[in-house]
Symmetry: C2
């Protein structure tokens, strides 16, 4: 098949690789209907993470089950499925506790930006739904369920957003924008999106943001404090992963507030004294996608949310390298790829 591979920083190729095979009896092979590029794929693309030259890249997709292993019971060939970026058995103690990202049988999609993907723990991981025939908007929203929407949701849940709250979203990438949707679904009354980019500000407003703060750093913190009568926000979604973003997130939280963080931490130093003195809670991590999928899938199906709008560029899979460039240069929020 053809798949996306990374050979070095900035070196994305679309090339022939061996077809994925069932390795375990709990595996499934999925023919990809649509895949996409994740903000976290940009870390290796920018040389910030180690690269194994020639490795396939990509971990989000939706598609049609092609083949299942001998122990797969619920999922069948022909099913249209959402593929969560982390695979889990949905039965172990950690899954039962809602922390599917710590599943004892955890695995990851080997090739989400490809013609086919291998999925481990197919019964536990995959969620079946009706194929969105000729409905590109619905397809995009289903694809968003494989990672960014549940990750934004996780930020909001981890931050503890409650009805009536003031929530701040730090980060205007696809996850941050989905965090705005999540804060809105959870009943936040005021949602302040911190964003400098006009198209993203617009989307944030469309998703439910009531205020936009374009300033960053101390100035941004001061603006949020002013908007909140000097009190600060009840809940803050940190959707970037840098020390600046975390500093801002903690800075805008009110005493007793919560920060939910889902950006993979890069260079963050947590100020334990500040957290202590202001009683600010911190919780986050890799989203337990499978836990949230049923609820979010229903919201998408009922057209209550449209997370697929974060895809502002769709490309043929063969042009994946252009997609990476567009996201790296912030010309695109998120790129959808169709084989």
């Amino acid at each position: 098949m053809h798949a996306t591979t990374i050979h070095a920083a900035g070196d994305i190729r679309f090339e022939e690789v061996p077809d994925p095979q069932l390795k375990r009896p709990t595996d499934a092979i999925v023919k990809v209907t649509a895949g996409c590029i994740c903000g976290s794929d940009l870390w290796p693309y920018r040389g910030e993470n180690r690269i194994r030259p020639g490795a396939t890249i990509g971990h989000e997709c939706v598609g049609v089950v092609e083949e299942v292993g001998s122990e797969v019971r619920d999922i069948r060939a022909g099913d249209f499925v959402v593929v969560p970026f982390c695979h889990c058995d949905n039965t172990c103690a950690h899954c039962r506790a809602g922390v599917h990202s710590a599943c004892v049988n955890l695995g990851g999609t080997t090739s989400g930006q490809a013609e086919y993907a291998r999925v481990g723990q197919a019964d536990g991981s995959l969620v079946r739904t009706e194929a969105p025939a000729d409905d590109d908007a619905l397809l995009a929203s289903l694809l968003a369920l494989s990672d960014v929407m549940p990750t934004g949701w996780h930020a909001a849940v981890a931050a503890g957003v409650k009805p009536g709250d003031t929530a701040v979203v730090v980060g205007d990438g696809a996850v941050g924008l989905c965090g705005v949707i999540a804060a809105s679904m959870l009943g936040a009354e005021r949602i302040i999106a911190m964003s400098r980019h006009e198209p993203r500000q617009e989307l944030a407003r469309a998703f439910g943001a009531t205020h936009v703060v374009a300033a960053r750093g101390e100035e941004g913190v001061a603006e949020v404090r002013e908007l909140t009568d000097g009190i600060g926000a009840d809940a803050v979604l940190e959707c970037v992963g840098t020390n600046d973003a975390m500093t801002t997130a903690i800075g805008v939280a009110r005493p007793g507030g919560g920060v939910g963080f889902v950006g993979v931490p890069h260079g963050i130093e947590l100020p334990v004294r500040t957290l202590f003195e202001r009683n600010i809670g911190l919780r986050g991590g890799i989203a337990p996608v499978r836990r949230y999928l049923p609820e979010l899938l229903t919201a998408v199906q009922e057209r209550r949310i449209e997370p697929g709008r974060v895809f502002d560029l769709a490309l043929p899979l063969a042009e994946v390298a252009d997609g990476y460039r567009a996201m790296d240069e912030r010309r695109a929020i998120k790129v959808l790829l169709r084989p």
Copy 2:
């Protein structure tokens, strides 16, 4: 009056100081019935915090209101009151949000180990109750409500202890022991107290601990993991404030678990990657004592809890220096002082 003063590390004196005066119309003067020494008083005693030579020390007491300022409405001379270690107006936005320790009118007791204490924001801070005539055990439990019991409770609330949970308490000081009481009140099914000292282990069991782990560091973490079938604890109460204690607390938490920390942080470096990878929540800080007082006072009055048992040494106030030595040398868990 006579009060306890600190002049240098290890130099505690009981000496004549000016009587406290009403400074603001919202103040009250309380004649101390009983005060005590806090684990946090040992930081300056051991030279770990800066000292202003001759300053009074102590911030926990119960007593009888002697005099109130002109704007005090609810509290009257003659009332027997519990004095929370931090004073608050109980009406500002932060108090209304339950974060009394961030009150915009925050203040602290100027002399808890003395004959008299000045209390700010008397109406907001003080909680009136019946004087415990001739009942030393009740007096001790009421005194524990001024700091250690609400602080242990805050650790349990911040850790998110729920009915059926497995909770671990790191630290066997008075706060840790009160944390055991709190975890039990909040319905934890298994409570693992980490303690090396037999009298404290016994008290922990009396307070509801179902297991005691004497080992520390990696060995202690391994023992807790074994006790929890390799899963870890749902909620962990960090009641020390050192990096070792925090490392242990995070190490014994299950993925998705919560760590509540109430020990004043000294030298803690938070491992953000570990928190992220294991989705461990962290929350804590200075306890909003006033928020918890009504509920905990009822529990004490109904004899459902006996936090006063943490006082294993009672001394005349004049012998306060001996009390510091006893706590410093870990001969006493907590020392009660009677003028």
